[in-house]
């Protein structure tokens, strides 16, 4: 069992689970931002750098 000191030193925070936020599981918040990110991604060599292939 972790001591209080060990828990306080963790970088991974203690996250309270709120089931009310599950409604966003299948909802893309800020869809414009995601679209822009995907467009930017297409123009770059990210997939090559990390050795993956586009899958979607």
């Amino acid at each position: 069992m972790k001591s209080i000191l060990e828990l306080n030193e963790k970088k991974v925070p203690a996250v309270r689970i709120d089931p009310a936020l599950n409604k966003y599981d299948k909802v893309v918040l800020f869809p414009e931002k995601l679209a822009i990110a995907n467009e930017m991604l297409k123009k770059t060599n990210f997939a090559d750098v990390i050795g993956k292939k586009y899958s979607r």
């Binding site: 030193e9 991974v12 995601l34 770059t44």
Partner: protein, 152 residues
């Protein structure tokens, strides 16, 4: 070193987080979502304000609640939480405006010595991705939890 940060709550799958910013403009709900992109295990970090009255979201608003460092530390903690659950994931981030991208860069520089212990950090410069270097005007950033099978 543990940074001052807000308490965060999340949905069961830890892809959407919320926290309450408290400052000179009062209480403002912040929402963070890690969004699957068009590449396996790559997630876009989206962040903005949630209007508590209407439920509408805005990622372009300049809240100016006087707690930007605490907000940044809280976003970093959400990244840790998400990456802890999804250790193979890459987290991608870019600003919705040039000034926000610059803020992202400043944030990474500020916490670089802490974050680099736990994450691979990459930056996009002129459509090319590379290991993150100080002083470069990156357009986007990506981080990946260390101690997994991936190594640059």
């Amino acid at each position: 070193m543990i940074l001052d940060r807000y308490e965060i709550k999340a949905g069961s799958n830890l892809t959407t987080f919320e926290f309450l910013s408290e400052g000179r403009k009062g209480e403002i709900m912040k929402i963070i979502q890690f969004q699957q992109m068009n590449l396996d295990n790559l997630y876009n970090l989206a962040f903005g304000d949630k209007n508590l009255d209407t439920g509408t979201l805005d990622d372009k608003v300049v809240t100016d609640n006087g707690d930007s460092e605490k907000v940044l530390a809280t976003v970093v903690s959400a990244i840790y939480a998400f990456a802890d659950r999804y250790p193979d994931s890459w987290i991608y981030a870019t600003g919705s405006t040039e000034s926000r991208t610059r803020l992202h860069r400043m944030g990474i520089n500020k916490y670089y010595e802490i974050v680099v212990l736990d994450f691979e950090i990459m930056g996009e410069y002129r459509n090319e991705w590379e290991g993150y270097e100080f002083g470069k005007d990156y357009q986007a950033f990506a981080v990946h939890r260390k101690n997994t099978k991936f190594e640059i």
